[in-house]
Amino acid sequence: MNCNKATVLMSAAIDGELTEKEAEELSGHLADCPECRSEFQEAKNTKIIIRERIVRVKAPRNLVESIVRLTNVTG
């Protein structure tokens, strides 16, 4: 496997979505290639940054209440 192919696989590797064969090939390449290892780390960080830096808000109280009410129709 060359560096280009490895780079393409990294994205799905981070998500745990490679086939077994692809995962094996990629880790084989990473073991031999320091550039791709550092690239892989950076790629992981990109995912982390999206997950952690984008603010999550809570749904407004009235919205939550009205939805709970919707499913509370008694009788």
């Binding site: 393409v8 799905a12 998500d15 979505e17 997950r51 009205s66 939805i67 499913t71």
Partner: protein
């Protein structure tokens, strides 16, 4: 065969209980998704409300044992398309001021969780990350949100965006490449050297 009233209400009660257990816990996730789609808190609220009404009505068609959050997201997305698509922003056009303003409206008490280590990402501001994400073409932004922020699998995302898994995979790859370039651009503005080949 006719069912009597008592039986119906017992069935309805089971449905309610199940709905509360399966669907209601995802309100926050749906609200956030709706906010990112509409960039407007009132529209987001309407969208979530309508999604839950629809979901409740069609709860029988929810395949038990599958991911309820994914099912709800799909309903919300379809609702959004029907309702807002006509006025959706044009691809490629990004209103940075709108994004910034919007970001400040939704940003409440900020609790920073663990941050990435001391690489260039560290220098980025929250709104820069958000701007970078929002500046991506929708097809890329969407899959990144669903994957990285909401943790859906490729199969779930493929089903939501009605594209093959291979397409989801390549959109993620391409979208992340674009996103990285944007983020590095911001980092350079902060004086970070993001060039790895020194």
């Amino acid at each position: 065969m006719k069912e009597n009233k008592k039986e119906l209400s017992a069935r309805e009660q089971i449905k309610q209980q199940e709905f509360q257990k399966e669907a209601v816990p995802h309100i926050n996730a749906l609200y956030n998704y709706a906010l990112h789609l509409t960039m407007n808190p009132d529209d987001a609220e309407d969208l979530v409300q309508e999604t839950y009404l629809k979901a409740y009505k069609f709860f029988d068609s929810f395949e038990r044992g599958t991911n309820c959050k994914a099912w709800l997201f799909k309903i919300l997305k379809n609702n959004y398309i029907n309702k807002f698509r006509k006025n959706a922003r044009e691809p490629g056009k990004v209103d940075y001021d709108l994004i910034k303003d919007f970001y400040h409206t939704i940003k409440d008490v900020q609790s920073d969780t663990t941050e990435a280590e001391s690489d260039f990402f560290h220098s980025l501001l929250h709104e820069e990350v958000y701007q970078a994400l929002q500046s991506l073409p929708e097809e890329f932004r969407e899959v990144i949100q669903l994957c990285d922020m909401e943790g859906f699998t490729y199969e779930e995302i493929a089903n939501m965006v009605e594209s093959p898994i291979g397409t989801v995979r390549s959109r993620l790859y391409r979208g992340r490449k674009l996103l990285r370039a944007k983020l590095e651009e911001y980092a350079r503005k902060h004086g970070y050297n993001t060039d790895t080949e020194e």
